[in-house]
Symmetry: C2
Subunit: 335 residues, 2 copies
DNA sequence: TCCGTGTGTTGAAGCGTTTCGACAACATTA
DNA sequence: TAATGTTGTCGAAACGCTTCAACACACGGA
């Protein structure tokens, strides 16, 4: 293995000088710098990560804590992962994978052994067992999602309340007066999942604000129950001309269910989804995006900032973005 | 930070003794061992990963090189990842994520800095640019899939030839004499993708062996072209009573296409898929499993074996397993 | 009694970095 | 001219662990 001493000898300088060239923590004359750089290139030198970690107490690795439990939408997850890895690499950091099944136990181990400098935690629940642990750890962490007690933590999330409201506003602007909401499976609400409840709340409040009648139903993820939920919505509110859907698994059956009940999209019923843009694009649905990449990138950047001692806002909420597509397109001229 | 010296002092022994208790590389008396263990617990000691890596030249981390490019089936990928992480943890190793977009460059960096002890490489192509690099690296690697030049490498793969053959045998045993094969999109074959070609080869050879007429078509992943492919198969071979499908994206449209062409599954046409078991279960298709977990586990175990200096077979082929389901179920009594 | 043998423990020397204080050499100011 | 910065480089001391050679001790056999 090529060591820093080899490089130093080859370049005719002291090892510390090589180190300073590498880290840039002291000024080095241009001549020396290029000389050292050349030696590094020639010898194919790579600093030993362990030695570096030991001496600097910085591993240049962040832990990515992934759920991997049933019910997570994998395409979204992977986009997040990609974004996190890419962003981390931009700051010369690597990513260590910690799966959630290792639990708090795993976090403690990884943190205790100084293997990582910080944590990126995905899929946080409202009262997550890991949250108290994260708070008392030496390493900083950034959470995707918002636990109930977010005090002292850094969180990144889509502003789901605003997302719910944005759907209503869009539809209201198009002239709709009776709007339905098709939500996640009811277990999700029972579990006290933050984003689902926040979306509902935002939707409801916006509807009230705009003087619009709203009706909401949960939906399971098979065709039969989607159909049942939609039927129930239409029965409750026969004048309904628009539907907001916050349920990725149900999306595929919405159009079919409506058609089965004699309504066409978008002529009889407009549809707005809250889902990854890719999915909406594929089905040509107007949608509020679930910006996985953006969340991943921002979370990683916040973590890096904290690692460098910069203060960060405790909560970063991404504003929702709506993309108009065919499922609400030609509604401007309605009564 | 609690160091090994703190533990040693607390337990009244030398630091080296603590180290030996931890690693088990020398015999330690039961009394001393429990005493040390107790101190470790009490003080909450975790060995510093960097220091350990430096001293032992073992990082206890394996790199997982993931594709993350379009076209990979994510559910399968994630199952593989989970299996790899879980298995690695069983051997006290962690997993560093390296995405393929970092390319050979990334491999070199990670390897050079001694950050990892070995590589787990997924989604290997027939002539992969990383293969020559892997061969000359100090750290061992295990590949999922088989490059053309596998010499000097350790590979794990499903025996796709046998999988193709297994489908034919199953159908032949049920009495089918005219069988169709619906493959991946044609680009996949153009790309020289190993598993696709091997499956085809196995299918064809088995059909010849059993004296069965076979017809094959590629299929793109939208409904229209699946329908077109199926129609083309039926036109070429009107007596066809069974179909082998090696195309995950097409699976959802098979039954529909057949119905559109006036054939019911399984009464008129039996269907066997080659895909993850979960998918097949969901659609009630007889299938040859794509054992993601098993591949991940085996690959990791092979890597660990190599790390410990044990010799390993250059190629591990998992035998295909067929699960009978409704799509071929009641065919035993056919003419 | 002395010698080998085996078992359990220790001290010290690394492992390859970073970083701190020191120190020349030179530039700036009083 | 002397005092005071500045800039670029160096030497050496950490960092926390593993591991090797060495040692103390108890044991059974000659």
């Amino acid at each position: 293995m090529v060591t820093i001493a080899d490089v130093a000898r080859h370049a005719g300088v002291a090892p510390s000088t090589v180190s300073y060239v590498l880290t840039g923590k002291r000024s080095i004359s241009p001549q020396t710098r290029t000389k050292v750089r050349e030696s590094i290139r020639l010898l194919g030198y790579h600093p030993h990560a362990g030695a570096r970690a030991l001496a600097s107490s910085r591993a240049n690795v962040v832990a990515l804590v992934l759920p991997l439990r049933p019910g997570v939408h994998l395409p979204v997850l992977m986009r997040f992962v990609t974004a996190a890895v890419t962003t981390a690499r931009r700051y010369d950091m690597d990513v260590l994978l910690v799966t959630a099944d290792q639990g708090a136990q795993g976090l403690r181990r990884v943190a205790g052994s100084a293997q990582v400098d910080g944590f990126l935690v995905m899929d946080v629940e409202l009262d997550d067992e890991r949250v108290p642990l994260l708070r008392q750890m030496a390493q900083p962490s950034v959470l995707i999602g918002r636990p109930a007690a977010a005090k002292g933590l850094t969180c990144v999330d889509l502003d789901f309340e605003a997302a719910g409201a944005r759907c209503v506003d869009h539809l209201a602007d198009l002239g709709h007066r009776y709007i339905g909401f098709l939500g996640a499976p009811s277990v999700v609400y029972q579990r006290n999942t933050g984003y689902a409840q926040r979306t509902m709340a935002g939707f409801g409040a916006a509807a009230m604000r705009r003087g619009i009648a709203s009706t909401a139903m949960p939906a399971e993820d098979d065709y039969e129950s989607v159909l049942a939920s939609v039927r129930s919505l239409l029965r409750t509110q026969p004048a309904m001309t628009a539907l907001v859907v916050h349920n990725e698994a149900a999306l595929g059956w919405i159009a079919g269910s409506l058609r089965a009940l004699g309504r066409r999209v978008p002529d009889d019923v407009a549809v707005v989804a809250i889902c990854p843009d890719e999915l909406a694009e594929q089905m040509q649905l107007t949608s509020v995006q679930l910006p996985a990449e953006e969340l991943g990138r921002q979370a990683t950047e916040l973590l890096v900032a904290r690692l460098n001692g910069h203060p960060t806002a405790p909560l970063t909420l991404l504003p929702p973005k709506l993309s108009g597509r065919a499922s609400t397109a030609p509604r401007l001229r309605r009564a």
